[in-house]
Symmetry: C2
Subunit: 355 residues, 2 copies
């Protein structure tokens, strides 16, 4: 461990802050907070909102709900654009809402609603919001680093990411960047903020420092991850993740399992639990007997779906094992999969689609 | 790495949450935030304050200033009890301020003002504040785990700590606990809060979960540290740290270096830079030539003091080396220390005071 007020850390910080805009595909500065992704969600709000501001929140799952609730806590008048779980928001509905309420100051949307593994069409939403006075505020926690979400090209005004998803690190570091349009709002926004105050963080970064103590262990690891991504190049990195997502969707479909989302993301795939199987027991069984960690559903989806993360560092062997172990676990609950056949299908798909 | 929504993490979390009250010397629950110590400073404020509340802030260094500024950002009417840097606050002055303004809702005080390495008499302050309506809110970032700061006995209402000081971990995890008196205030406090909302965190902990994603790597390490401290026992652990502090103060004094603080803490020792030496150059020289990381002064003390942390995992060899390397570095700036003699004094002091 190195101390965060030393020349060695100064050099590391400079390197990481220089590399981050490539990950966000932006010309803007990217800032780090010592927090979870939810901390960055709060930062995105308190840096641009003033109490009483009207906010349009796309609510298509648990994280959309959280963001809408959070904005209300900080005094925003929140209009919820509710979308059935598992579906992508229709960009035209955002356009209609902005036309009905041109005083809207911000549109909040997940790039990928992690709780339902659903991708929203941020590029189209960006075109619509850019034509209005509002800022487009995007939660890219399971998108940045997983699939193309080019902050500048997509006209995103506030973009956040977290360390423990596509950035492949332990939890504890979050990332945020503001467009010029957002900075103009941030300079005047009156939500009280200190720990997440990007005006202060920007001043500290300009002096080559972080505002508060830095999570050195995570920043060292971030430097390594950014190096890997730069070496491969973002295009190839995204191709690798898309291949994993396509593999997962193909194999699950061949196993007669139904993909839950109507707009599946390339970072995580959700499947419906087959009728008659207790999803909570299945998940525990997968964890305990097969050492396969997948997530269940949350809130209204508890026990009804399984979510497969395929972000991060995952090998072809991991992909094959994840499918055969799921099949074995389902067999323990009464299914009749031929494990050898699934393994062969997985191996041949990966061979036919090698990168 | 394990995932934070798995049985393995549930067991780890339960173990850590059960062990933390011993560290805080309290019967109350201790909560974790994914943040730096400054995040916990903000949490302490937003959980108990309502805009307009009168707050008395002891300002005796950089961290006292930060807390007073932060409280103002969140709408408090802040009275600063300014104490000369390097001195401890006189508890009677707090008593007088509370008598003059019985409507004061909170007293903010560092247990150790890290920027000046000065310990305040929290036990005496606790007696005074307990007799009033106000809450005693204590920053124990360089105190909890370093020397006795018994939350319940000292009548502390809100106590915070951070991972990277006496808790011996990398930055990224902070700790906070509230007394019953503080909980009553917290239930009604109206400062907007979400990420740091302890009411929500308490509900999550009651279900065996954390409210947001958890910094698993740090919590695993915290479990190890708590195990070490429990095994030694807090009394012996504090004795070990006091021995290091006494060693440091004794050796520095023998080297004719002046201890900066009039109430030196057992976690960190500050010395005045001898006349004629550039403190910033000395610190860089120590780092680069002698691989000895010490901190300089901040703000008005920049270049004027050196701060020796002796919290965390430090061996007798480290203690000896820290003194001989400082002497060598000072010799490079024109001093005439006999390094062999300093090494002998250090060794004999440690032998005579072995634990």
């Amino acid at each position: 461990m190195i101390h965060h007020r030393t020349p060695a850390f100064d050099a590391l910080l400079k390197k990481v802050l220089t590399a981050l805009p490539y990950l966000f595909q932006t010309k803007q500065q990217v800032f780090m907070h010592t927090s979870t992704g939810s901390g960055a969600m709060e930062s995105a709000l308190v840096n641009i909102l003033s109490p009483g501001d009207r906010v349009l929140a796309v609510v298509s799952g648990k994280f959309g709900e959280r963001w809408a609730d959070m904005a209300e806590v900080f005094g925003a008048r929140v209009e919820r654009l509710t979308v059935p779980w598992g579906e992508a928001v229709e960009p035209q509905k955002i356009k209609a809402a902005l036309e009905a309420h041109p005083e809207t100051r911000a549109v909040l949307c997940q790039a990928c609603e992690t709780s339902t593994a659903t991708a929203h069409d941020i590029r189209s939403i960006g075109e619509i919001v850019a034509a209005s006075e509002a800022l487009l505020v995007v939660d890219g926690i399971t998108a940045v680093g997983a699939y193309p979400l080019a902050m500048d090209d997509f006209k995103i005004d506030v973009l956040i990411a977290g360390s423990q998803k596509a950035v492949m690190l332990p939890t504890g570091l979050s990332l945020i960047s503001l467009s010029e349009k957002a900075w103009k709002v941030a300079e005047k926004a009156t939500c009280p903020r200190f720990y997440f105050d990007l005006r202060r963080e920007k001043k500290a970064n300009a002096k080559g420092e972080t505002l508060f103590s830095s999570p050195v262990s995570l920043i060292k690891a971030l430097d390594y991850v950014l190096g890997r991504i730069q070496e491969a190049g973002l295009d190839r990195h995204f191709q690798q993740l898309r291949r994993r997502a396509e593999f997962t969707r193909t194999l699950l479909t061949e196993m007669q399992l139904e993909i839950y989302s109507q707009s599946p993301a390339n970072s995580v795939t959700a499947i419906k639990i087959p009728a008659g199987i207790d999803g909570i027991k299945l998940r525990t069984h997968l964890e305990e007997k097969y050492q396969l960690t997948v997530m269940g559903g949350q809130e209204q989806l508890k026990g009804k779906i399984l979510r497969y993360g395929h972000m991060g560092y995952i090998s072809d062997d991991n992909l094959i094992e994840s499918m055969t172990r799921l099949a074995q676990a389902l067999n323990d609950f009464g299914a009749k999969y031929d494990i050898t056949q699934i393994r062969q299908k997985a191996e041949s798909w990966l061979k036919a689609h090698s990168l």
